[in-house]
């Protein structure tokens, strides 16, 4: 069994949170509130030491006055709380939206639209071996049918009906895979906690 007080603290807090599985109780509430408080404290300290101080306070204290511009932009967000000058908040928001749009739109189009379309298109190179050819065809059919299912501008009649039905099957397979992976992820977290309790805390496993 561990003699490290931090391990003990971690183990006791883990058990407090697990106690919710039986029913809601004051131990669980204490663990939950402590977590929220510690998380807030951690984030404030991290942002101060790793962001505000090195990127704003230190350069300003060294006389780099250019940093007054981001300081002013940041302070303008707080204008929201003063009705008379609340319009000032539009300036930093406009700056952020403009910058984000300029940086993101071309990159998103290139990486998430064109590249993904490229991955769906069947070319002679898709058939370098039988398996990759079959999978390429399945992906193409799956994508087309799923997109047809979400095409609501025309009633799903005629050729659209079986195509949309096939699309539902692909969607269901996708949901099934997501569910399976989600179960695996959640169980992994439980395994991790139990490994911690049985290993570092109780010393029953390596």
């Amino acid at each position: 069994m561990s003699t490290d007080p931090w391990i003990w603290l971690g183990a006791i807090l883990t058990l407090m949170i697990f106690s919710f599985l039986f029913k809601d109780n004051p131990f669980y509430k204490f663990g939950e509130h402590l977590f929220v408080g510690v998380a807030n404290g951690y984030y404030i300290a991290l942002y101060w030491h790793n962001s505000l101080r090195p990127n704003l306070v230190e350069p300003l204290s060294q006389g780099q006055l250019i940093y007054l511009i981001p300081l002013l932009l940041g302070l303008m967000y707080f204008a929201r709380f003063i009705p008379k000058i609340s319009w000032l908040v539009r300036i930093p928001i406009g700056f952020m939206i403009g910058w984000s749009a300029g940086v993101s739109i071309p990159a998103t189009f290139q990486a998430f639209v064109l590249k993904q379309l490229e991955g769906t298109i069947i070319t002679p190179s898709s058939f370098t071996n039988a398996a990759s050819g079959i999978w390429a065809a399945i992906i193409l059919v799956g994508v087309v049918c799923t997109v047809v299912y979400f095409y609501f501008s025309k009633e799903h009649k005629g050729i659209l009906k079986p195509t949309a039905r096939l699309g539902i099957i692909f969607i269901m397979i996708g949901f099934g895979a997501s569910f399976g992976y989600t179960v695996m992820a959640r169980v992994s977290l439980l395994i991790g906690r139990i490994q911690f309790l049985l290993g570092p805390w109780l010393g029953l496993i390596d």
């Binding site: 992976y181 992994s188 395994i191």
Partner: protein
Amino acid sequence: MKWFEVISKIDRRIIYLLLTLFVILPLFIPIKIPQNIMPQTQKLFDFVDSIRPDDKAVMLSLDYTPQTAPECHPMALAILKHCFARNIPVVGVSYDPQGPGLAVEAFATVVDDINRQASIKEDSVIYGEDYVYLGWKSGRIAALLEMGESIISVYPRDHFRNAVDSFPIMARVKNYKDIAIAIVLAAAAYPDDWVLYPQSRYGIKVGAGLTAVMAPKYYPFLQTGQFSGMVSGMKGAAEYEHLIFAHGYTKDLGTAETGMSAQSMIHILIIIFIIMGNIGYFFSRRKK
């Protein structure tokens, strides 16, 4: 109460108890369940294995959180062991605020283990020469783009407040041209940003180590070649551990490999519960 009503109304606490038992038992009595290596894990392993020693570096972005550590932490340990065993320089960064603590622990665990076993200086791993951890940075999009020009301009100081330009490793790793692959170990959508910005603009290779929940979303990135490999969930971590063990890069398997026995047992239990629930539902409907 009829039998089919009993099986469809099991108290949730009994289910929790059974789940806990099915997790604990395989940890004491390991059940050998054969591991099939998934192609995406093999691809990432092969990529790292093909990097020439003492040449380009691996950039490891450690962006997972304590709650997802059981999945991503073993991946970090396995990839670090693989890189250090092959003398591949490693540059660590984080963009999730919760990443740094786990990142420091991952580096310390692997480095201490290697250095304990090293008999000569050449076999040991030295901070600043073989690896560096640059720490967490806010404004990650700007940081990711700027690193394409100069890593030192984004990180003048490392996580421990040392001047980065004093490290020998940074003399040869100046920007993305000196990075063979960026491997993002993430519990949120951080790999999106690596594909969107550094890859689109600078063509950097990206690999991913993801929680299992995220994996289905990222499979299309393998199909398009935007990911040069992917390790997903505890299973992926166990596969990577298995691969480095099989290739002689480590002498022991990690926690993911032992956790997978419990994982498999739990899956069997959940399948049984799903079947029981469906049978109960089916017979209840027939009765109505």
